[in-house]
């Protein structure tokens, strides 16, 4: 019974995540950017913009300039999360990809650094006056959600082992529309339920910063307004009316 409930939840959450994100992204892509507003100095070529965006997405360049603590904790969390997600691919692939096998040991410890990063970020939110002022309840809950995901995962890895073979069987089955039995384990059920929640909230929350950054005109525009006329469709209409 629990297996079927979880299977349905994962199917629906994944559908919501994919459809929600595609809707958001297409909405961003379709909304015009009528004026050239890169924050200068800005790259003058497409290659330069790709480099700027890469530095922003991989190294959080602007945040580095802003505040070393936030940058350190934020980067630690995100980099760890990336490793943890990659490590979890082993539950979805058979045979396990060699890259995933290679990062397995790093991925395990990344769970710990992810938790540290999150706790640091929450500490900032709780104890730095300015950050506490700007925090909404959802900001705290989002961190709590991620902390719980990390903590339950770590508990299963280092304390109360779960039946990982069974977990893998369940997810491989899900991918082939063949529902298998999910090991009966409270910690595992809690962990998976939190992950489902995260998938559901993603397209409706500030987690949209992930796709959003790629559409940010101050970062993704070339600095070439004198060389090339930039005109959006609605602005062009003003000219034909004259």
């Amino acid at each position: 019974m629990a297996s079927i409930v979880f299977a349905i939840m994962f199917y629906l959450a994944t559908l919501l995540l994919v459809v929600g994100l595609l809707y958001r992204i297409s909405n961003y892509a379709r909304t015009p950017a009528p004026l050239k507003i890169p924050t200068t100095p800005a790259p003058m070529t497409t290659g330069g913009v790709v480099l700027r965006m890469t530095r922003e997405v991989v190294f959080f360049e602007s945040l580095f300039k802003a505040n070393l603590w936030t940058w350190g904790l934020g980067w630690l969390f995100h980099a760890s999360l990336a490793l943890v997600i990659m490590r979890h691919l082993r539950y979805f692939t058979e045979p396990v990809w060699s890259l995933v096998a290679f990062i397995q040991p790093f991925g395990m410890y990344a769970g710990i650094t992810m938790l540290l990063g999150l706790c640091g970020l929450w500490g900032r939110r709780l104890f730095v006056e300015r950050i506490r002022y700007i925090s909404t309840p959802s900001d705290h809950l989002m961190l709590l959600l991620l902390i719980e995901i990390a903590a339950t995962g770590l508990l299963m890895k280092f304390a109360e082992h779960t039946d990982v073979i069974g977990v893998k069987g369940f997810f491989l089955g899900l991918m082939h529309l063949n529902i298998q039995v999910l090991p009966a384990d409270l910690l595992l059920a809690f962990h998976l339920f939190l992950v489902v929640s995260l998938l559901v909230v993603f397209p409706f929350s500030k987690l949209l910063h992930a796709p959003g950054v790629f559409f940010s005109p101050t970062r993704n525009q070339k600095d070439d307004p004198r060389e090339k006329r930039h005109l959006s469709a609605w602005a062009a209409k003003l000219e034909s009316e004259k």
């Binding site: 924050t39 602007s62 730095v128 959802s138 500030k206 101050t218 006329r229």
Partner: protein, 509 residues
């Protein structure tokens, strides 16, 4: 307004503690019916302001990707929270960029997002009430749209874009700001922000010719409305009579004279500034910019050069090509832009900043200087925000920092920098930009200047700096007003071309 005093310098520039409500109710005067209606806005707050404001927000969200993405992407990380000069100076938490954005974002969440509709308290969503609207008016008129926060935001969120959207919404419901709307009205009616009519302008220029003749013995012309001139100079109207602006205008004229450049001003289009940007209204921005296109076409000029003005240069550099076709690279079938672009000489950048013009001439060795004429000055340079973070000069990113400094070094012997985290793209606003250069905001302006005044004081103490050059009419006006309040001599501020004017050799070489 003698009761406004300067805040104390911070001993070490630590992030100040919050003083909630410190700047509540300290916004600028509201525009009168007449001023609003002249721009096509409702005269005063309309009955159905709530519905119209929400509708306007929806319209802007569909027209501006920046607004849409910026409303969604913020994670409240706080990277920007200590970066705004108005927050540092006033300590009002709503002057933190993220908190300022959230004034609008909270309403966006309530009306345009599912979680905000379902669980408003949870995600910090708010109904648009009269209190919220007043809060918008107050705090979105305490942002100078300087973009400093956008340098530090990991998603590039630019509070200027959000301030512009908020002001556009406020104007659309009849809640405009007096100073900006009054100035825009003057541009439409008379042709410049200061309301200086053509005959007065011509008179002023004749007077300037006499002054320069008296001072140098040389006939430097200040031509106006000359058809067939090569260069059309578009400069902020403050250059025509405000101090110290006028000294830079004399500098431009001397550079044109010394290089034998035929140039002209336009009496119809006698303003580089464009407050349409400040109020975030595309139609106003475009209509004001169209005067330049019209002047260029009528006078048949080959080049358009822009004088020392920060936001004007952002509008000219970044927006003129889009708005009016002043630039290059229009499609072959784009008749509107081609009409003008065919006339312009594309061996030169269109438009060009006066600093680009002068620096090119210096590099071509067509100007000579007696640098000792500036020896009485120990000079530093204040980067103006719109030039620094919203434009470029020359062929490389960052040319907007190098070229004015190169000119200063070419015309003067003593140049020092201020603290590096307060110059170039990290420069602090003078405190008076973005449509806030009005006496009803004097307290805000004085407090907002605090970070710049602190580092200037350091430069004075360490290097004996006695001249701060800048290339923005608003910076010049703001500093001459507030620096005496901080105990500096108002004459410490001047233009880069004022220094050029001091040192340039006009006689036979």
């Amino acid at each position: 307004m003698a009761d406004v005093t300067a805040p104390a310098y911070r001993i070490i520039p630590i992030i100040p503690a919050l003083k909630p409500g410190a700047m509540e109710g300290k916004g600028p005067y509201v525009a009168s019916d007449k001023l609003n209606e002249a721009l096509g806005f409702p005269g005063q707050l309309v009955e159905d302001w709530h519905d119209r404001a929400i509708a306007k927000m929806g319209e802007l969200l569909s027209k501006y990707r920046s607004l849409k993405v910026f409303m969604d992407a913020c994670v409240h990380c706080g990277a920007c929270s200590d970066k705004c000069h108005y927050f540092i100076g006033t300590q009002d938490p709503k002057n933190m960029p993220v908190a300022r954005q959230d004034l609008l974002r909270s309403v966006y969440r309530r009306y345009f997002t599912l979680p905000g509709k379902l669980f408003p308290r949870l995600v910090g969503a708010r109904d648009l009430t009269r209190e919220v609207l007043d809060e918008w008016y107050n705090y979105f008129n305490q942002c100078s749209e300087c973009r400093r926060c956008s340098v530090f935001c990991p998603y590039g969120i630019d509070t200027a874009e959000i301030t512009m959207a908020a002001r556009e919404i406020l104007d659309s419901v009849g809640y405009g700001q007096k100073y900006s709307n009054e100035i825009i009205g003057k541009v439409h009616k008379i042709g410049n922000n200061l309301g200086l009519p053509g005959p007065a302008l011509i008179d002023t220029l004749e007077g300037l010719e006499e002054d320069v003749k008296d001072a140098t013995g040389i006939d430097v012309r200040f031509p106006i409305d000359v058809k067939g001139a090569e260069v059309l100079l578009i400069t902020p109207s403050a250059d025509f009579f405000a101090e110290p602006h006028i000294d830079s205008l004399i500098g431009y004229a001397k550079v044109f004279h010394a290089t034998g450049t035929s140039w002209t001003l336009s009496s119809m289009s006698s303003e580089a500034g464009n407050f349409g940007m400040f109020i975030g209204n595309y139609d106003q921005l475009r209509t004001i910019a169209m005067r330049i296109r019209q002047a260029a076409l009528e006078l048949g000029v080959k080049r358009i050069v822009v004088g020392e003005c920060g936001h004007a240069w952002r509008v000219a550099y970044s927006f003129w090509n889009t708005l009016t076709g002043v630039g290059d690279g229009a499609d072959a079938n784009d008749r509107f832009a081609q009409m003008l672009q065919k006339q312009l000489d594309h061996r030169y950048k269109q438009p060009a900043h006066i600093c680009e013009f002068t620096w090119d001439m210096i590099q071509d060795e067509r100007l000579t200087f007696d640098k000792s004429k500036n020896d009485k000055h120990i000079i530093t340079f204040h980067d103006s925000c719109n030039v620094a973070r919203g434009s470029r000069m020359g062929d490389l990113p960052g040319g907007q920092f190098e070229i004015p400094r190169n000119i200063i070094k070419a015309v003067a012997n003593n140049f020092v920098e201020m603290a590096p985290n307060t110059t170039r793209e990290q420069t602090f606003c003078c405190g008076g930009g973005g449509g806030l250069l009005t006496d009803d905001l004097l307290e805000l302006r004085v407090k907002g200047a605090l970070p710049r005044m602190e580092v200037l004081q350091n430069a004075v103490d360490e290097h004996g700096v006695n001249f701060m050059a800048t290339i923005c009419a608003i910076c010049k006006a703001q500093f001459t007003k507030i620096m005496p309040i901080y105990g500096f001599d108002r004459k410490m501020v001047g233009g880069v071309h004022q220094l050029v004017s001091n040192a340039i050799q006009l006689g036979p070489k």
